[in-house]
């Protein structure tokens, strides 16, 4: 079969297609030509699949959680026991999440293949991770066509125009989310999108008294608006206890709610070395620090909220573990990674707490730090250069 796809063969144009699939099944017989005659077993496929494995706990919990709130809306009962009706919830959740994954991969890989064929190289593995990340950071109620549009935008504008995997400046999945966030704000924020079907049900005029579809973040942000949802911090923590936030039994984007599931992923990433411990740890440290500073300042319930709440609410943990650690867009030097993570965490909380228009500061913070990463690296590299130049003078 291979000769048909080889250069000069009948199906030469489709070679990238053929190569991509054949290398999925078999590591090619390429041997070393120059330099070291033996090579490490690791390749980009194994690296990327590890990231996907790390996302599985968050994905599985996300499916269950989406199913739970779907059922809750259907029954009009916000206090539905979380762990009951498991089969039903998994089924409902799967119906919400799986189509999004299929659309994200289908559309994204389609675009990638067009570019791969145009450039004559095999598909690179980067999108395998982006394609999974995109559904995990979407609200459950987002229409599938929006997922498709956002994916196309992210792959083309975020990545391919820069030259493909490894060349992009900002994180692909966050580009998709940011695109939707600014293009279709009503589908990406507010208090109707976090539970599947809630928007439709309200639109049909159903009586949903006492049924709030907001996220913990949205409710918390209302503290600094004119109409706080909760009177004080105590009533907020009664609704969203630290335990709820840790387990993730709250509405939110599909993969972001469960702190525990994300931490399982973080453990996998850190243990295998695929995700940088420096970035993850410093990102959390930055967030905690900023939360602590707001604590000291005080003045309103949001400022007074314990920093540990900030780390578990919203997409902070998910962003720190799966988004900020993207090696292509993060800082590349060891010291740079720490600075990058620290500021990422600080800015995330800063945006979240001070600016009620953007309850989810993590997305903007990481995108901002993606852009800043080369500058951080520049200064770290200059420091190394200067230190080495100094050697001449002292010698």
């Amino acid at each position: 079969m291979e000769p048909k796809f080889a250069k000069g063969g009948k199906l030469e144009k489709w070679n990238p297609f053929f190569e991509s699939f054949s290398t999925l099944a078999f590591t090619p017989s390429h041997t070393t030509k120059k330099g070291a005659h033996i090579r490490d077993g690791v390749d980009l496929k194994r690296t990327m699949i590890t990231v996907i494995f790390a996302m599985v706990p968050a994905l599985l919990f996300g499916i269950f959680n989406a199913g739970h709130w779907d059922l809750a809306v259907e029954l009009g009962n916000r206090d539905l026991p979380f762990w009951a009706d498991q089969g039903e919830k998994i089924y409902r959740g799967a119906l919400i999440v799986l189509p999004m994954i299929i659309v994200s991969y289908g559309v994204g890989l389609g675009v990638e293949f067009i570019f791969a064929m145009k450039r004559g190289h095999a598909l690179h593995e980067g999108f395998l991770v982006s394609g999974m990340l995109i559904p995990l950071i979407m609200p459950p109620d987002v229409p599938l066509w929006m997922v498709a549009v956002a994916t196309i935008f992210a792959v083309v504008i975020g990545k391919e125009i820069f030259g493909g995997t490894g060349m992009n400046i900002v994180n692909i999945a966050l580009t998709a989310r940011a695109f939707l966030f600014f293009a279709y704000p009503t589908s990406m924020s507010g208090d109707k999108v976090w539970m599947n079907g809630l928007g439709d049900k309200l639109a049909s005029g159903a009586e949903m008294d006492g049924f709030s579809g907001a996220t913990a973040l949205g409710d918390a942000a209302s503290f600094i608006s004119d109409k706080p949802v909760f009177e004080n911090l105590d009533s907020f923590t009664a609704q969203y206890s630290l335990w709820d936030l840790m387990m993730g039994t709250i509405p939110g984007s599909i993969g972001e709610t469960s702190f525990i599931a994300i931490m399982i992923g973080a453990a996998i990433l850190i243990f295998t070395g695929v995700g940088s411990l420096r970035i993850i740890a410093s990102f959390f440290a930055g967030g905690y620090l900023m939360g602590f500073i707001f604590n000291l300042v005080g003045g309103n319930p949001y400022f007074e909220m314990g920093p540990e709440f900030h780390l578990m609410m919203g997409g902070f943990a998910f962003g720190a573990v799966f988004m900020a650690t993207d090696p292509v867009t993060a800082s590349q030097t060891a010291t740079g990674k720490i600075i990058y993570g620290l500021f990422g965490g600080i800015i995330a909380i800063l945006i979240r707490v001070v600016n009620p228009a953007y309850p989810e500061g993590v997305m903007l913070s990481i995108l901002f730090m993606n852009v800043m990463a080369p500058i951080i690296d520049h200064y770290v590299i200059q420091a190394n250069v200067k230190r080495r130049l100094k050697r001449v003078k002292t010698a």
Binding site: T23, L24, A25, F26, T27, P28, S29, H30, T31, T32, K33, K34, G35, A36, H37, I38, R39, D40, G41, V42, D43, L44, K45, R46, T47, I49, T50, A122, H124, E125, G126, G163, G164, T165, G166, M167, F271, T272, G273, V274, S276, P327, V328, A330, Q332, T333, A334, K337, D377, I381, N384, V385, R387, R388, R391, V392, A395
Partner: protein, 453 residues
């Protein structure tokens, strides 16, 4: 003031097939060859024609742009062929070995009464000079430069490398004579760096007139580049000369006897050879006598040198000028099914520096690795992995990127003058994106040499 250096970074690749400490004298090979490509960047100018007789220690070609550097025949015989490649570039000069090896007669040379310049002159004339290499650029030393120091590593930490303590055991006199000669080549010190992990042989321990340093750590602790960086780093405009320990003994032999006898003890190692052990042979020797009948499988790669930096040769190819070992490993030109041996496999057969494979669980298990690339070439994506095996105060990824983009300023600032391609061999090994990093560094060095030297 000798130094003790401890390295935390590095990687010992555990391979099957280390050479047993037994030495066999191999018969005189039928042919020997000198490969100009062993001396990077050198353009040979032949002085002997095909079919003419050559004598051991007499020049067969010299450096076209530096005619004082002469390359001599290791044996007496007839020049059989000048093998040429593209654009008539000389690939190999093959010499048929005569049955009677009448080495050029000579008498001992009194090093003590000679000046540095006289020794240099003699070494250039007698073909000993190519043993002296220079940093930066990692080429045969330019005799017109004054090196600030000379470095010799007393051990090789590369996978399956020969044990210099064994190889040079009992050759104290030759080694010392070599040291005496080369120490006159520099105003600075001669550094002999010993392996901190093992007691050194008397040859090294008893060496006089040198600065003895110790280095602890994994490979590339034995690389002279690592040692220079930690003991007396090279700054722009400075030169350091380096020699291989066995070559110092060859130089010593010349000064003791007046004859060029380029005999060397090499290790035959690797997972695909029966009874791996040491052989005494000659520089450029045809390896077929040594490897014949020793392969344990058919599809093998024969490497002159070690698995990280050596050159691929044929089973009847010739030993490289600087190489101290022959390594034989399996070719990896088979497809590997994803779930058994591919990227989703359990991977107990793979040696990885990352924790994506269970190598870290296997203790001291030794591996039989083949030449498969284990993946396809990709853009630089993963960060932080090169740093783990690169014990320099240099940012490896940034330097490699500067080399790839021909960024001369960047390379200078990031430390190109301190590195040789071999220092990046482990980086190349661990690279997830399967980039030929040594080749990129070499291209960067070539650019620096043509633009800044």
């Amino acid at each position: 003031m000798s130094k003790t250096v401890k390295l935390r970074k590095g990687l010992d690749i555990r391979l099957v097939g280390a050479a047993n400490k037994v030495k066999t004298e191999s018969p005189m090979p039928k042919t020997v060859a000198i490969r100009p490509s062993d001396f990077h960047g050198m353009v040979p100018k032949m002085v002997v024609k095909e079919g003419e007789a050559v004598t051991a220690g007499k020049p067969i070609f010299h450096d076209k742009y530096n005619p004082s550097i002469k390359y001599v025949s290791p044996v007496t015989g007839t020049l059989n062929a000048v093998v040429r490649g593209e654009k008539r570039r000389i690939l190999e000069v093959v010499i048929d070995v005569a049955e009677n090896q009448n080495f050029e007669s000579g008498s001992p040379i009194d090093v003590a009464s000679m000046s540095g310049d006289q020794i240099k002159e003699l070494m250039l004339e007698s073909g000993l000079w190519p043993f002296v290499r220079q940093r930066p650029i990692d080429v045969v030393a330019d005799p017109s430069r004054a090196p600030k120091a000379i470095f010799i590593s007393a051990f090789d930490s590369a996978p399956l490398a020969p044990d210099f303590d064994f190889v040079l055991h009992g050759k104290e006199k030759e080694f010392q004579a070599g040291l005496d000669a080369i120490s006159k080549l520099t105003e600075g010190k001669v550094h002999l760096t010993l392996n901190g992990k093992a007691p050194a042989d008397a040859t090294f321990k008893g060496a006089q007139g040198v600065e003895k340093n110790k280095i602890f750590g994994k490979h590339p602790a034995g690389n002279v580049g690592t040692q220079i960086h930690h003991i007396d780093p090279i700054n722009k405009g400075e030169f350091v000369w380096v020699l291989n320990a066995q070559d110092v003994a060859i130089i010593g032999r010349f000064f003791l006897s007046g004859k060029y006898i380029p005999k060397r003890t090499i290790a035959l190692a690797g997972s695909e050879v029966k009874d791996p052990h040491y052989f005494e042979t000659i520089i450029g020797a045809n390896v077929s006598e040594i490897v014949k009948g020793r392969f344990t499988s058919d599809n093998v790669r024969v490497i002159s040198g070690n698995v990280l930096t050596g050159d691929k040769i044929d089973a009847d190819g010739h030993l490289g000028f600087y190489h101290n070992q022959i390594t034989v490993i399996p070719e990896g030109d088979q497809l590997k099914f994803v779930l058994t041996k591919g990227w989703l496999g359990p991977g107990f057969d793979k040696f990885s520096n990352s924790r994506l494979f269970p190598t870290f669980l296997t203790g001291n298990k030794k591996f039989r690795l083949d030449t498969n690339l284990n993946g396809e070439e990709r853009a630089f994506v993963v960060t932080g992995e090169l740093e783990k095996v690169f014990p320099f105060d240099i940012l490896p990824m940034q330097l490699v990127k500067a080399a790839i983009t021909d960024d001369i300023d960047g390379m200078e600032n990031l430390g190109i003058y301190e590195v040789a391609p071999e220092d990046f061999a482990l980086c190349e090994y661990v690279c997830t994106s399967k980039i030929d990093i040594q080749d990129k560094v070499r291209q960067g060095l070539d650019l620096i040499q043509s633009e800044c030297m």
